[in-house]
Symmetry: C2
Subunit: 210 residues, 2 copies
């Protein structure tokens, strides 16, 4: 049995405070095996019915990376068209991915067809399969930050295109495309807040009693 | 700027290893404000476009709790019918929720209609709204375990019924119903593995290169 003390809890809180969605990476390579170690940590996460639906794809091939970057650019241009006026200007000025600089690319999928876990917990809420994969990514994100490694989650992508580019089984649902590497800078404030795109609200605003 | 050392990283790994989906709770009340503190920690999580779509509902009302428990029982009976033979016997023997004993109940929703974050990052993958809420739950889960508090995620529920019981806005999507309290025991092995429902696989089995 393991207990944790106040010092650890304070540091854990610091970890939550300093974990960022990173878009500015140094191009320095990660140590050998760093990504695989982060994946192993992710696999310690909870999953519905112990289904372990996470599927990780380390993307090293230059042509595939280029195709992902091209898809991001196309999707980001489409997204820009949804804004107008001052908001469009602000959107255009944001750096929304570190795909070009990050030394490691990792795509993450949820295997919707796997029978690991024998379907337990997934009857009324099959989306808990995807949720299990998100929990694993969250763990990996925190573990990375504790090693000084930054992670950026790119969602401005066309899932069908990513599927095609990475040539993975059709039963896999695309969850996230992650840029991983050393960040250019550390910060305790989300970049979208610093850039005045949006500000953080207090927990009370989001809490009801029933 | 904050850096973390090897001692912290070792403890963080222990936290991942000892975090469990808890179904066996002591009925001892949590300290005043404990749930609110965990919610505040959850709100430090990443969210797509800084949308902060998490909505927390602390469920204290006895009649509502009873209605949730009744829904769990009905859904669990239906789920049992999906199994046959030896697997059905094993399913029936599992304790799949601590709803009756846990001193705190917390429902978590994703607000799909909120314009916080101005839609950024959600055009091609609107499901990242739900994913942001799952990331917040994961953070809360880890923070709870660091305080010796257990959390159990109940997914064997009918989302429409939970919506009705808790009387929340229709734009909110039900993500999770959480039991929170002190666990009866600590363990570094998932209960479903201990009960031989399923076993854990290695990360290598789930990793591809492209």
């Amino acid at each position: 049995m393991v207990a944790f003390d106040d010092i650890f809890r304070r540091q854990l809180r610091e970890l939550f405070v300093w974990r960022r969605d990173v878009r500015h990476f140094r191009t320095t390579a990660l140590p050998d095996g760093a990504v695989e170690r982060l994946i192993a940590t992710a696999c310690l996460s909870p999953s519905v019915g112990l289904s372990q639906p996470w599927r990780f794809v380390i993307v090293d091939d230059a042509a595939r990376r280029r195709a992902v970057i091209d898809d991001f650019k196309a999707c980001n241009a489409d997204a820009l068209n949804c804004y107008s006026g001052e908001r469009a200007g602000r959107y255009a000025a944001l750096k929304l991915s570190g795909l070009e600089q990050a030394p490691a690319h990792l795509a993450v999928f949820a295997d919707k067809a796997s029978d690991i876990g024998h379907g337990l917990g997934r009857t009324t809420m099959p989306e808990t399969t995807e949720y299990s994969v998100v929990a694993a990514i969250t763990a990996m994100w925190l573990a990375a930050r504790a090693e000084g490694i930054g992670l950026g989650w790119v969602s401005i992508l066309n899932p069908e295109r990513i599927h095609e580019v990475l040539d993975v089984p059709t039963s896999w649902k695309f969850i996230a495309y992650l840029c991983i590497g050393y960040p250019e800078a550390e910060c305790d404030q989300p970049e979208l807040e610093k850039e005045k795109w949006e500000h953080r609200r207090s927990a009370q605003e989001f809490t009801l009693k029933r």
